[in-house]
């Protein structure tokens, strides 16, 4: 099956700093989603981005499908950005659209 690798595994930043999270995947995908799992365990859907670039406030994401990676940018970090960020993909050659998750990047924002 498809492999999804996220880097870095852990990231500690001062409030106000910018960060870039990376997701590499091993095969063609027709679905890529970025999630934020908050300290209460809820999965917040950030972006649905199988290709191209999207922005939502301080967050933006870019997926280069031909090179099999996606980047999540967080600018002017706030303490509420802390949590685990997951990338998840669906392989293009399946009809069942099962999401495969990476192991996540744990982001800690220090006041």
């Amino acid at each position: 099956g498809i492999q999804v690798e996220q880097s870095p595994p852990d990231l500690i930043l001062q409030e106000g700093a910018n960060s870039t999270l990376r997701c590499n995947f091993s095969d063609s995908v027709n679905n890529l989603q970025w999630f934020h799992q908050n300290p209460w365990g809820q999965l917040i859907n950030l972006f649905y981005i199988p290709s191209g670039t999207k922005q939502n406030g301080r967050l933006s994401a870019t997926t280069v499908a031909t090179e099999r990676y996606s980047l999540l940018y967080i600018s002017s970090s706030q303490t509420t950005d802390s949590g685990v960020y997951f990338c998840a993909v669906c392989e293009s050659n399946f009809g069942n659209e099962k999401l495969t998750f990476g192991t996540g990047t744990r982001l800690t924002i220090i006041p």
């Binding site: 365990g41 999965l43 649905y48 399946f94 999401l99 495969t100």
Partner: protein, 113 residues
């Protein structure tokens, strides 16, 4: 719309007990999924359904059963609870597969003691 609703939010079971985790969605989505998340890990797919009456195994189906008698509901059953099933369980849905984002419930935290 409530979206994807999971009940209960928390549960403690004894080894060998059985229980059903409930998942309901009010978005008329065809596809529904059950995932489990172990501590410090990403989510892994247990079972999924592409429509009422149709279910299939995911990556980690052993010890679980599902049914899909209606479009709205997709319950997950644990028949003989084992400590290895201690996890957080997430249900998700999507209108159709692959080209639509999946919507997740808030999860059920299950401990087997």
């Amino acid at each position: 719309n409530a979206g994807v609703t999971q009940t209960p939010k928390f549960r403690i079971l004894k080894i060998g007990q059985s229980m059903t985790l409930q998942c309901a969605q009010d978005m008329n989505h065809n596809y529904m999924y059950w995932y489990r998340q172990d501590p410090g890990m990403g989510l892994k797919l247990i079972y999924y359904s592409v429509g009422a009456g149709i279910t299939d195994k995911g990556e980690v189906p052993n010890g679980y059963n599902v049914s899909r008698s209606t479009t709205e509901d997709f319950p997950l059953r644990l028949e003989l609870a084992a400590p290895s099933q201690t996890s957080v369980y997430f249900c998700a849905s999507t209108p159709s597969g692959g080209i639509q984002p999946q919507h997740f419930g808030d999860g059920t935290r299950l401990s087997i003691l």
